[in-house]
Amino acid sequence: MENAIEMTGLTKKYDGFTLDNISFNVPKGSIMGFIGQNGAGKTTTIKLLLNLIKKDSGNIRMLGLDPDKNESEIKSQISAVFDEIPFHEVLNANQVSVILSDVFENWDKQTYFCYLDRFALPRKKKIGSFSNGMKMKLQIAAALSHHAKLLIMDEATTGLDPVVRNEILDIFMEYLQDENNSILLSSHITSDLEKIADMVTFIDKGKILLTGGKDETVENHAVIKCKKDDYKNIESADIVSARITDFGAEVMVHDRKKCEKKYAGLTIDNTTLEEIMLFYVRREKKEWK
């Protein structure tokens, strides 16, 4: 399968934080959910991808090209959306179109105005008076109106209400109807990713903990609910981490099939991305309350 993004051994060192040997791929035609808690390294990775900061080591390939040699060509085919609107507050949606027609070679005015109508965004109202949701919708309308092949979103849906978020997720699904298009969606709202992501990559403290298909990741993990005495019989190698309460233990295991056979007498429940994130973040403690 061809990849829209290929990252191998990406490293960036800061004082007090290191993005350590990051490697993952985003296949063409898929949505990669990039999850992790605040400060885990999601934004740093995205900035490295976009060459907004310089990498210390590692290789990146985007849309089959080398960003060091073909930066301009790559950037004309991608769209980046951040949590903050880049357009000045005194501008309106009409003016944004005039400006962006000069920025993007393939600017499609008609598509842009279609999105504005669809999102019910006023064309002549100043951006400064837009709500957060409207600003984000405007940014997404702009990002989708120059036929970009890769959409990179950094916490773009954070801070939006569920209705707006759903609307935006639907737009992404439509965008992916074209198999050449791909999305890298960074978020800590795992429910969004659960809805639309094909793949997930989980980053914590600058390291990739999991990467692969979303369904496989969720299916491979499970939560064993048992008494404290039963918990003692679970092998440490099978455990990601365990929540110990007064009533018993909830144990996250990373190989469901193996554990189903091994611990047949115990209750093994399905899990979610949110739970996986929660248990992995506390993996060093192993036991927590």
Binding site: L52, S72, E84, H88, E89, Q95
Partner: protein, 245 residues
Amino acid sequence: MKGLLYKNYLITRKYYFMAFMFSFITALFMILIRLSMICGNISHDAEAVDELTRSMWIFRYMPCAVIILGFAGYEETFFTDLNAGWTRFSRTTSLSANKIVGSYFLSSGIVLTSAYIICLLYLVIFCLSFGDKISLHYITNITSLFCFGVIKQYFNLTLAMFAQKRQTVQLIAISIALIFPWLLCAYIYPKMKELENPDTVLLEWMAQQFEPIKAYIFPVMLFLAVIFTVGGYFISVKGLERRTF
């Protein structure tokens, strides 16, 4: 480039309006003074008319200074544009650093040149109203003022593009700049003590001290304006290319 220039125009257009309003009001005020000198109460008092004519010198330069320096002050709007995430966004597109910096430099140049033309026109109106000759002296003074505006504007723009911590660098620059008035005071104060009657002759004495410097102001300003424009552009492009977000 057209779209970027259009954006810069849109985010700074209130300054155009303010400058035009200011020049219109001062021109109107000037005409009213002239009319009062011709047909108002003081028209019969030759001494009062002369006094007023003498005190009108400030009107030759003050509005020009306000217009040019006012326009040169609009880079603050560019800073808000840069900080609002536009720079980061523009670096995710195929826009080159040359184009981004060029648009800011070109917009500033257009605005300052239009302010300069307004000032020259204003000077012509003034001289025609008060029967003054349009001398080279006025023109060089206004051109020096324009050059100062260019230096201020491009220095700040370069700083915004190049320095990650603009405010710190600005603070250092201001601190260095403050040394000069201090040195000047250190020079003037002992000289003043030597004068018999410092209060009455101080202004004249200061004018005498500055007389030789005046001859150099125009060429120095012109030279610095060119250096700050060309140098500032290249430093800004380099700064933007190496800048991280």
